[in-house]
Subunit: 163 residues, 2 copies
């Protein structure tokens, strides 16, 4: 990836130049990959079914008959609560889910996919998994496991960076 030490280039004279190449900078490469994969996958539910990324994710978390509140979706999806709130509103407008105020805690709103929402989910899952597979095509099972583990180790490191 990149040499830990800060490399410098010494010029013919005395000036020292920082040797920085954006294309070998991990955070940049990661974002480029994320954009590419995200674009490849989201095309299905965006153009063919008119769902936003956050709506798809909300649908995915509610999955099969899952009954949960908005804040549980926030927790499971790592999305912002505003984003989740609006995704729910959008899904409700299209009758993909129904809301019911929790009787025991009237601040909570419990969510559940409707039959229509479940059908959308059932249609979408195989398509989305197919595209995921196309992104990972050519990677062996072992390579996928390695990637998974490397990514998780880096993610854990970021917890430390951010105190």
């Amino acid at each position: 990836m990149n040499n830990p030490t800060v490399r410098k280039k010494r010029m013919s004279g005395s000036k020292v130049l920082n040797d920085f190449d954006l294309n070998h900078f991990f955070p940049y490469r990661l974002r480029v990959l994320d954009r590419a994969v995200s674009e490849a996958i989201s095309s299905v539910y965006t153009s063919r079914f008119g769902l936003s990324v956050s709506q798809w994710r909300t649908l995915a978390v509610l999955g099969d008959g899952g009954v949960m509140s908005a804040s549980e979706i926030v927790q499971k999806s790592s999305m912002d609560k505003v984003v989740v709130s609006r995704a729910i509103k959008g899904l409700q407008n299209r009758d993909f889910l129904k809301r019911k105020t929790d009787i025991n805690d009237r601040r909570r709103v419990v969510l559940k996919l409707t039959a229509k929402g479940k059908r959308m989910f059932d249609n979408l899952v195989p398509l989305v998994k197919q595209l995921e597979e196309e992104c990972l095509r050519g990677l062996t099972r072992a390579e996928r496991a390695t990637l998974d583990s490397l990514m998780e180790r880096i993610r854990a490191n970021t917890d430390v960076v951010l105190q």
Copy 2:
């Protein structure tokens, strides 16, 4: 990562459920990691130097003594030309770069860091590389190379997915 075949869960009765877990869905994991790393790195130039991500990248591409047009920056950074145009405007407002219309092709505007811009670049590069290193901490040289290669293979696959 995820089994290529679409797995289904057979329930006690006869219903078949899609077995979908967002947390083991590669595009989702990738976005979570990107957010985490991006947050960890951008904190330096955002909060300490008031640069946006696109401004930092523009600075990084221009680097030491680089002289190029906006469209070359677009090409080297994979950013949208609108984003680059606005990043340039912001950097120019703070006297980090100067623009000069190309005499041979007066549509082109040639860009170059000022002394002040170069100082910012020189300050930033070691800090940013340090944070990159913290994200990758614990990964051996070989593991970094593996990660790099796996990421590039996936990125190349997305070209195919998008035709």
